[in-house]
């Protein structure tokens, strides 16, 4: 088919959709995962394990509510511990979803169309997991709503000069906009499911959720404008969120935190870990659901390249941090650098360098960039590395600051680990549910990628 050869030549290397698909086959293939394919035993096992992990999370949180955060390893001088490490890690993971759906849309990277839907879902679930931590870390979680400026009988208002308040607004705006972006993207596809299902009740549910979408040209026109504007709004938003998260540290005076490189290096790190999570999810999903036609080698390659690029920005951030520690002339900063390299947590710092800087360099090799198995493991290494980065920033900076009489060590308890692994369970459980009830790939955006979708005036 010459038509299709042309379109794959235009987009260099592997095609975004394997040739031979039509509007009908794309629609059937994606909607069949939700509508006709029975849930496999593997799905039930995976869902079951994640469900149990979620129950463990609820148990850990229940006990926390009962006893207070003393059950965690946090204590002075390390008051932030796992809760903030995990919060920053999860928020960072969420960033890739918005990057894929918004920034790549504005840059007209049409390959994003087959991974944006589940990447957005990933964002939403990651932000939900992230939100758990600061809310329970405040100590009296039932009063967490005090963070918001609402008229109250105490006659007080929040302190807007504090980066922690900025964070409340940034993260809640991010959660809201991500949810809106994800849901509006789903509306036309929910209409497709409404029209495809044989089940009367499902038709009503999908019909209600699709708001009665009928694909009118006027509606599409406004819809596209809305989608583009939302992408334009989400782009600075996603960059601002991790910037504001980095302000939580950078505005403080703790050595190892008080540095201007933090905002860009946090944003790059967020995208780095986010793409790693996208790959860790996409690789098994495309294999199990036979979606190799839609999530092709090209998607894997491109994601690997984004990881390579952002990984180098992160490496630059580490380099500048170390350079400034040495060159800046501040003895506390210099000590922080020394302490990272030779202190009690030095092993973790070297592990961080290995996971985030050295091992990912193998992505320069094209063969590994196109190998799903290799990419899966490298992504896992990066996710571990990014978690270690936040651990180094939070714990290692706090445990030895200005006064050596107030130095200490951090020992996470089993409750810390249960909460952390519990959120991973919650995240994956939501992912499992999402795959079964909603189209994991944006159907209408896939249709626009087909050569038949092109029209001339």
């Amino acid at each position: 088919m010459p038509e299709q050869f042309k379109s794959s030549a235009e987009i260099e290397r592997a095609p975004v959709i394997e040739p031979g698909h039509t509007f009908g086959t794309v629609t059937e293939k994606i909607s069949a995962i939700v509508l006709t394919r029975p849930a496999s035993n593997g799905w039930f096992v995976g869902f079951g394990i994640c469900f149990m992990a979620t129950m463990m999370l609820l148990y850990a949180l229940g006990y926390l509510f009962l006893k207070g955060i003393g059950i965690w390893g946090v204590t002075i001088p390390i008051g932030w511990g796992f809760a903030i490490v995990n919060f920053v890690w999860w928020i960072g993971i969420g960033h890739a979803g918005t990057l894929i759906s918004a920034i790549l849309l504005l840059l007209r990277q049409s390959w994003r169309n087959s991974i944006n839907r589940f990447a957005e879902a990933m964002t939403l679930f990651a932000v939900a997991c992230a939100g758990v931590f600061p809310a329970v870390h405040v100590g009296r979680p039932w009063l967490a709503y005090w963070l918001f400026p609402y008229p109250n009988t105490m006659g007080v208002w929040p302190q807007f000069r504090s980066p922690l308040m900025w964070d409340v607004f940034a993260v809640s705006t991010y959660a809201t906009i991500s949810a809106l972006f994800w849901f509006t993207g789903l509306i036309p596809d929910l209409a497709t499911l409404r029209d495809r299902t044989d089940n009367k009740w499902l038709r009503i549910v999908y019909g209600m959720l699709s708001f009665g979408w009928r694909g009118s040209a006027r509606h599409w026109h406004r819809y596209e404008t809305m989608y583009l504007l939302l992408a334009g709004l989400a782009t600075p938003l996603v960059l601002s969120v991790h910037t504001v998260v980095s302000f939580d540290f950078a505005v403080g005076i703790v050595p190892g935190w008080h540095t201007t490189i933090f905002p860009p290096y946090f944003v790059a790190g967020a995208i780095y870990s986010g793409f790693a999570m996208v790959l860790m999810l996409a690789i098994p999903i495309r294999k199990i659901y036979g979606l190799e036609d839609f999530i092709t080698e090209r998607h894997l390659q491109n994601s690997a390249k984004v990881m390579l690029a952002t990984g180098l920005i992160v490496a630059y951030g580490y380099g500048i941090e170390a350079f400034m520690g040495w060159y800046g002339g501040d003895r506390y900063d210099a000590f922080t650098l020394w302490n990272r390299l030779h202190g009690p947590y030095a092993l973790w710092y070297y592990a961080l360098l290995a996971c985030n800087i050295f091992i990912p360099q193998v992505l320069w090799i094209r063969k590994l960039r196109t190998s799903p198995v290799a990419l899966f493991f490298i992504s896992g290494v990066i996710l571990v590395g990014m978690w270690l980065e936040r651990f180094i920033i939070v714990v290692v900076s706090l445990h030895r600051d200005f006064l050596n009489s107030s130095w200490g060590m951090y020992y996470p308890t089993r409750w810390d680990f249960m909460t952390y692994f519990g959120t991973i369970g919650l995240f994956l459980m939501l992912m499992f549910l999402f795959l079964r009830v909603l189209p994991a790939i944006s159907i209408f955006e896939m249709r626009t990628l087909l050569p038949e979708a092109e029209v001339k005036e």
Binding site: T22, F23, G24, T27, P149, G155, W157, P158, Q159, F160, R161, M165, W166, F169, A170, T173, T176, I177, L180, F181, T184, P188, A191, T192, R194, D195, R196, G207, M208, F211, G212, W213, R214, G215, S216, A217, R218, H219, W220, H221, R222, Y223, E224, T225, M226, L229, L230, L233, A234, P236, L237, S240, V244, F444, R447, T448, E452, A453, V455, E457
Partner: protein
């Protein structure tokens, strides 16, 4: 119009996006103004062909963003400098650089919410029932078929003439939409 026409419109079905675009253009040029086109994905230029030119969504978003930004800043100013002034390390009560982040976030939040809800409201959604759903073939409008409708409320509409005109567009099928 005293009584409602029993027919909501005449609907033609097409196989491709190009066929729909061409048919929409011809129909509009033939003088039919109350028409609509349905497709499984957005088609560039189709809305213009059926006579839709003014898109209000950007204006709604601009107004939403301005409201969000101004109210976000004023909220902080009023709370931190007027209603509950607190001396924090000798910083001015109206410490505007510290207020920029939340002003920005509120701008994005309000603009984003107005984009989504503005689009839905202007499109008249949610609307779970619509006469076009009565056409059985219309269910493929969300899959791989393209539809064009001339509403019976159009001035030029005439049951026989319009039908004949639409047959001339070479549709795959033609159906009357009961209202």
């Amino acid at each position: 119009m005293a009584r409602r026409d029993p027919i909501y419109g005449i609907m033609a079905e097409f196989d491709s996006a190009q066929a729909l675009l061409d048919a929409a253009k011809k129909t509009h040029e033939a003088g039919y103004k109350k028409i609509d086109a349905y497709s499984p994905f957005p088609i560039e230029g189709l809305a213009e062909e059926i006579g839709f030119h003014f898109n209000e969504v950007p204006l709604v978003v601009l107004i939403g963003g301005l409201i969000g930004g101004i109210s976000g800043y004023m909220m902080q100013y009023w709370m931190a400098a007027v209603d509950y002034p607190l001396n924090i390390g000798g910083k001015p009560y109206h410490s505007w650089p510290a207020f920029i982040v939340i002003t920005f976030e509120m701008t994005i939040l309000f603009a984003g919410i107005s984009a989504v809800f503005g689009m839905l409201a202007l499109n008249g959604l949610p609307m779970p029932y619509h006469p076009v759903f009565n056409v059985p073939r219309f269910s493929s409008a969300s899959k791989d078929r393209f539809f064009l409708i001339v509403f019976s409320s159009d001035k030029k509409y005439d049951p026989a003439d319009t039908r004949k005109f639409m047959e001339g567009l070479n549709p795959r099928s033609l159906s009357e939409v009961p209202s």
